[in-house]
């Protein structure tokens, strides 16, 4: 994905499997909550300036033997509403399954109706996601949540057969998080227009072979004769 190259900011490793709920009290979120929306942009600038000086550390996922180290591209910077506790700290948690409107009018096209918000989002602390065992998971580690159900994909992703590695084939291995490509609320990749078709060489005519030839192994012989 082309947007990756400039967007990756170096930041200290929050990618280990250990989960740290104390992070909710990080100075930037306190600052943002107190100063409110007007200073939101300024707060982001300060946060970014701090991040650049740190290192994006590759860490080893311990779930599989022989797994290679990988740094995961942070995701929280791209989240519009994060930190969620800015609002949710003062709101009462409502576990009732219902259609959300207002802020989060999400069409949940994921899991064929078998899952709901709190399947992935932590009910107690909205700054975190949640595993199937209700352990809080940082938003930068969304792959731990996705891998809970999509274990095969998660393994392929970690070993390199699924998903995208950033920029290099050699050196520090940086991977895009699942949620960089898949909208977690509607994970299927949407159809879009292709880039321009190759031009037909001067003097040649375009013949679409697929339109007038149909031969599949299961086509009957009569159909062949008709053509």
């Amino acid at each position: 994905m082309s947007r990756g190259r400039n967007k990756i900011r170096r930041r200290s490793g929050e990618h280990s499997q250990t989960v740290r709920p104390d992070r909710a009290n990080r100075p930037s979120s306190v600052l943002l909550t107190s100063l409110g929306g007007l200073l939101f942009g300024l707060g982001l600038l300060i946060a970014n300036a701090q991040e650049v000086t740190d290192e994006l550390k590759p860490l080893r996922f311990e779930g599989y033997p022989n797994a290679r180290e990988a740094a995961i591209v942070p995701r929280k910077d791209d989240l519009f509403f994060y930190p969620c506790n800015q609002c949710h700290a003062s709101m009462e948690a409502n576990p009732e399954i219902r259609q959300l409107n207002a802020m989060h009018s999400v069409e949940l096209d994921h899991g064929l109706g078998r899952i709901w918000c709190t399947s992935c989002h932590n009910l107690e602390n909205r700054n975190y996601l949640s595993t199937l065992l209700d352990e809080p998971v940082d938003f930068d580690q969304a792959y731990l949540v996705c891998g809970g159900c999509h274990a095969n994909r998660h393994k392929d992703w970690l070993f390199g057969a699924h998903g995208k590695r950033v920029e290099n084939w050699q050196g520090v291995r940086t991977l895009y998080n699942c949620t960089h490509c898949h909208d977690p609320h509607s994970p299927a990749i949407k159809a879009r227009a292709p880039k321009a078709a190759p031009p037909v060489r001067a003097g040649l005519k375009l013949e679409r072979a697929t339109e007038h030839v149909k031969s599949r192994v299961w086509d009957s012989e009569e159909e062949h004769e008709e053509q």
Binding site: M1, D156, F159, G160, A161, N168, P194, P198, T210
Partner: protein, 309 residues
């Protein structure tokens, strides 16, 4: 090209004959005559170009001089300062490529990233990558269509198969070349020395994958779109009348970067890496996925695999 037809019509037969004669003389023995005959090059450059050896037989100094000539030529032709290198292959690296065809949606982002990265002529219509569209359940390449242009892709009932140079380990194109202008580098990339190529196109006939392309015209590239990071065996500006092909973005991959097509792929269908490194992504794919190669029966041993999951 410089010959304008309008003045020729008014001239007498003698004038025509004379002009044709002079043109013949000009091509054969223009050696020490006026500068325009060299297309703006200095006599020294043109002389050195003429006596330049095959890349593999040049000494380090000769290569250095050739690289500087290439940079000067690009400056004259496109008025752009390019940097031409000859980064050597890395020890213990053989490149391999794999494409997950169940991820490929036919967006053609790879095709256009390749054109831009590799300074392909915009007018000459050369594209290294062809994304074939086929009916689902059909794998007959003869029925494929790479000119597809629907509103949105993927089209229901179709599947997509990107085809480019397979970097064969036993490349028939190399065997066909009568002047050894193309060969396989130690890191497995089949390259062309554009200055040694005589343009006979035997290699194109020998390639079963349609991966080689001939420059019928001087490649025309808008100056602001030229990629200035070039390699002697890769994406340096090519002359007219030579064959070129995909070189796994040799200018990038030898420095550890991904090929442009892989970096551009929005779905992550493309996987590239070192076949000799047992921990690499490509080795994981080869060990854990059902892979196949195109036209494997021809025995060309492509280092390019396809799989679906």
């Amino acid at each position: 090209m410089s010959n304008d037809g309008s003045s020729g019509e008014g001239g007498s037969n003698f004038d025509k004959a004379r002009r044709n004669f002079l043109r013949g003389v000009g091509v054969g023995a223009a050696a020490a005559v006026a500068t325009p005959a060299w297309g703006g090059e200095t006599f020294q450059d043109a002389f050195a170009d003429f006596f330049q050896k095959d890349y593999r037989r040049m000494s380090a100094e000769e290569i250095e001089a050739a690289l500087e000539r290439i940079e000067r030529r690009a400056k004259r032709r496109y008025d752009v300062e390019i940097e031409c290198e000859n980064t050597p292959p890395q020890q213990g690296v053989v490149f391999g490529y794999a494409i997950n065809i169940s991820r490929c949606k036919g967006y053609r982002d790879c095709v256009h990233a390749c054109v831009k990265e590799n300074n392909l002529g915009r007018d000459s219509q050369i594209q290294y990558i062809r994304v074939l569209q086929m009916d689902q359940g059909d794998f007959n390449l003869e029925h494929s269509d790479h000119y597809y242009d629907p509103e949105t892709v993927p089209v229901e009932g179709k599947h997509y198969l990107p085809v480019q140079c397979m970097q064969c380990d036993d490349p028939p194109c190399v065997k066909a070349c009568p002047v050894e202008a193309t060969w396989m580098e130690p890191d497995g990339i089949v390259v062309v020395d554009y200055d040694w190529c005589i343009g006979c196109r035997y290699c194109m006939a020998a390639c079963p994958y349609w991966a080689r392309h001939f420059n019928w015209t001087d490649p025309e590239i808008p100056a602001e779109e030229i990629n200035t990071d070039t390699h002697y065996l890769g994406n340096r500006p090519r002359p007219r009348g030579v064959v070129e092909k995909c070189h796994f973005c040799i200018q990038r991959t030898r420095k550890g970067r991904q090929p442009a097509c892989m970096e551009a792929c929005p779905t992550g269908a493309r996987i590239f890496g070192n076949l000799l490194d047992p921990d690499s992504e490509i080795r994981y794919v080869l060990a854990n996925k059902q892979v196949f190669r195109l036209k494997e029966d021809l025995g060309t041993e492509p280092k390019f695999w396809y799989f679906s999951d």
